[in-house]
């Protein structure tokens, strides 16, 4: 086997093994550098993987040399490669941004350990995406989650501690539910390998055990997804965590949960079972829509801007769930597409907020007064990513919404299309509040002078903003990959 053959495992190993390296070195700048290099190399590996699978083939890697289902398998298909690209890409950009942000927000003697933990969040997430074994998902989910609790708690505000704790409790319940679900499936099939499960489940899918397993799995994954009403941990966790952490998690963690949902619901259980025999399509449709509307509404009334956009994220996840509930290539494709686009827009947004926090120290609505003139580049970035979130052409956000609405209209569900548009309208309101304060309010008399954010922050922010426009105009890659992945999931399953 040569290097290209090992790429699936290298994507995970690079951040995973760099974490203990950070601990051994234990110096802040070195820790940051290790994290940076590991992320970039991992990104390079996932680009190479994307190239390898774009022809439509699936890569299978046998860990330990044992063939599945006796050994653990890494399976990289189009969907997995796509999500890997997103996660590693975001990690690379956030690490660049993190250089100043982390120094500002985390005590110096903890910085190396902080980067080690951040690398573990990253490694856990890519481990979840790359694997083809259900129990392996659980293990790496816990790696990522435990590390997340740690990094979230490092926020400056003491409320970060409780936020991390609440996330720990809810996250562990979710993980335990997933474990129960896997246990039920194992009881009925005797295997843990995803492909094997997909092959063996149809003959036992009519049993109560499998149905119960399905229920527990979806609830457990739903907790990690922040699906309404299991989203309660998210707003606080995003609001009080260090800026780099919020940006990274917002762009990746819940998306990976969406990926897991897609894998289990569409590939392992099959669309016929999940969305046909079991009422999941209705549940996702209802909960997704409620999530969109309620979260967007709550966002309008927030003072803390980070919290505002955290609720916005819950709404965006609602859109993704809605897409899955449509059970069509257009619908599921829209979801996968939005996984990509949302990472771009929320990544840019939270990084920009982090830049504001860096210069000003806080991010309540009042702090934004007159910021449009004082930090023009940062504010412009926020405006543009806000536009993408609302879904204004020619941004990427518009493309996702477009396909989602298309999916609903294809099935004659035009009331849903209306609700989607109402969601966009609500987003317009809260983004406008921010814009109004930033550009039309005057700077307070006793406000301290602020400079624009440093280049190391602006560059990743604007790369993402530019990506929002690029992928809003040239949609071949994103839309094409998403639709192909969707039809593979729907065609192969059930």
């Amino acid at each position: 086997m040569t290097l290209p053959d090992h790429l699936p495992v290298l994507v995970v190993l690079l951040p995973l093994l760099s974490a203990p390296l950070c601990i051994l070195v234990d110096r802040p700048r070195a820790g940051w550098l290790i994290a940076l290099i590991a992320s970039w190399l991992s990104f390079a590996a996932s680009v190479a993987l994307m190239v390898q699978v774009s022809g439509g083939e699936t890569i299978s890697y046998h860990l330990g040399g044992w063939a599945p289902p006796w050994g653990i398998e890494y399976r990289i298909d189009l969907l997995a490669a796509f999500v890997l690209l997103i996660v590693t890409g975001m990690a690379s950009l956030v690490m660049v941004f993190a250089r100043h942000s982390v120094v500002d927000e985390v005590p110096e003697e903890r910085i190396a350990r902080f980067y080690a933990a951040l690398l573990l969040v990253f490694a856990g997430l890519v481990g979840i995406v790359a694997t083809g074994d259900a129990f392996n998902v659980f293990v790496f989910l816990e790696i990522s989650s435990l590390a997340s609790y740690a990094v979230i708690s490092m926020g400056r505000d003491r409320r970060a501690l409780n936020a991390a704790f609440q996330y720990l409790v809810m996250g562990t319940i979710g993980a335990t539910f997933i474990l129960i679900g896997i246990g039920f499936l194992y009881m009925m099939t005797g295997t843990l390998n995803m492909l094997d499960l997909a092959a063996r489940l149809p003959e036992v899918s009519d049993t109560r055990t499998v149905r119960a397993g399905f229920a527990f799995l979806t609830v457990g994954i739903g907790l990690k997804l922040a699906m309404f009403p299991l989203h309660l941990w998210l707003p606080n966790a995003y609001a009080y965590a260090p800026s780099a952490v919020t940006a990274f998690l917002a762009a990746t963690a819940t998306k990976v949960a969406v990926y897991v949902l897609l894998r289990f619901v569409l590939e392992i259980f099959g669309a016929e079972f999940s969305l046909g025999a079991m009422p999941l399509d209705l549940i996702l449709m209802v909960l997704g829509t409620i999530g969109i509307l309620s979260a967007s509404l709550v966002a309008v009334f927030q003072h803390d801007v980070k919290r505002m956009f955290a609720y916005s994220s819950v709404a965006q996840i609602g859109y993704m769930l809605l897409g899955i509930s449509l059970a069509s290539t257009t619908g599921v494709g829209a979801t996968i597409l939005h996984v990509f686009n949302h990472a771009l827009m929320k990544g840019a947004l939270f990084l920009a907020l982090g830049a504001v926090a860096y210069r000003i120290g806080a991010v309540t609505l009042r702090d934004f007064a007159g910021l449009g003139r004082r930090m023009p580049w940062t504010m412009a970035a926020i405006v543009f990513s806000g536009l993408s979130m609302i879904g204004v052409p020619p941004t990427a956000g518009f493309v996702s919404k477009w396909y989602l609405v298309l999916g609903t209209l294809e099935q004659g569900l035009w009331p849903l299309a209306v609700l989607i548009l109402i969601g966009s309208l609500l987003a317009l309101i809260y983004v406008w509040r921010l814009v109004e304060t930033a550009y039309f309010d005057s700077v307070g008399d006793d406000a301290p002078p602020v400079r624009e954010a440093p280049a190391s922050m602006l560059i990743p922010i604007w790369i993402l903003v530019a990506a929002n426009f690029y992928f809003g105009l040239y949609t071949d890659f994103s839309v094409g990959t998403a639709m192909r992945a969707a039809s593979a999931l729907l065609g192969g399953g059930g």
Binding site: H6, P20, L63, P69, W70, A123, D133, N136, F184
Partner: protein, 293 residues
């Protein structure tokens, strides 16, 4: 305390269900480590709780629905102990029938744990490392008041000291035995790491943390934890350089079975090192923390 007793009972139940390795681990980890953790936590917080203000109805409903769903799920399940259940028919037979030959050891659980599903165990080692890292980030290891040499937390107890001095080498030796013998009997890296750490905890309790910290300085611990993970990963990387998949042990020796055996031994060592250092580090972090008013 109740939780500790519960853990012991669980361990006994596991023994009865033929799960010897699990029983061992549950006893060491569950009854031992978790109880110590919770007691330390209680020491640092208030001992008595207040009555919760919110109602009990919603939680009861949620629990009721969940429990009902679980029972519903078991209704079509294969009966307890049924040898024809799918769980025993498909993947498991190979582990039982060929595991000992392919991996070269009679303990099938270790074979599956360290070889067939060795990557999961690698992940698990990383989980322990992550927990230790998290505790280091949150608490750090301080110079507690009991850290000065010569002062024991429980005062000067000559009988305890003599007994502890006598027991300690046996405890550590037993830990090493468990570590090495895990491929034949019940045991392996996790249990060994915990027992080894327990030896030091005993030393710290009886002789004073200051002495314990001189023997194993806290600064070493996080490096040791990192080292354990790197040992495990390193074995896997050697396989990569040998032209095989990550963690394929067959490249490690002249014939595949010996390679498997060697690989298992090495990765278990990595596990043991990490478990030991993390457990001890967490103990230092919690015990050294000053109780705040």
């Amino acid at each position: 305390m109740l939780f500790g007793i519960y853990s012991f009972l669980t361990a006994a139940l596991f023994m009865d269900l033929d799960a010897v390795d699990v029983a061992f681990t549950e006893a060491a980890v569950g009854a031992g480590v978790t109880t110590v953790l919770l007691l330390s936590g209680l020491r640092l917080t208030n001992r008595w709780e207040h009555r919760p203000r919110h109602g009990r109805l919603v939680p009861l409903i949620v629990v009721g629905i969940t429990g009902a769903a679980l029972i519903y799920g078991t209704m079509d399940a294969p009966l307890f102990g049924d040898p024809d259940a799918p769980a025993h028919r498909h993947v498991a037979p190979r582990y039982i029938e060929q595991g000992p030959q392919e991996v070269g050891m009679p303990n099938m659980v270790t074979a599956v744990l360290a070889s067939y599903r060795g990557y999961d165990t690698f992940g698990e080692t990383v989980v322990i490392f992550t927990a230790g890292l998290a505790v280091m980030l949150l608490l750090g290891i301080q110079q507690g008041p009991s850290a000065s040499p010569g002062r024991a937390a429980i005062g000067d107890q000559p009988v305890l000291r003599v007994v502890a001095k006598f027991l300690l080498p046996f405890i550590l030796l037993y830990a090493l035995y468990v570590q090495m013998h895990g491929d034949f009997g019940a045991g392996g890296g996790f249990q060994a790491g915990v027992i080894f750490a327990t030896g030091f905890v005993l030393y710290a309790l009886v002789f004073g943390e200051g002495h314990a910290r001189r023997v194993v300085p806290p600064r070493w611990l996080h490096r040791l934890a990192a080292l354990g993970v790197l040992i495990y990963g390193g074995v896997g990387l050697v396989s990569l350089f040998g032209g095989k998949a990550f963690l394929d042990y067959t490249v490690l020796a002249h014939d595949p079975v010996h390679g498997q055996h060697l690989g298992v031994l090495l990765v278990e060592l990595g596990v043991g090192v990490t478990v030991f250092s993390v457990v001890l580090a967490i103990f230092y972090a919690l015990s050294g923390r000053k109780r705040q008013a």
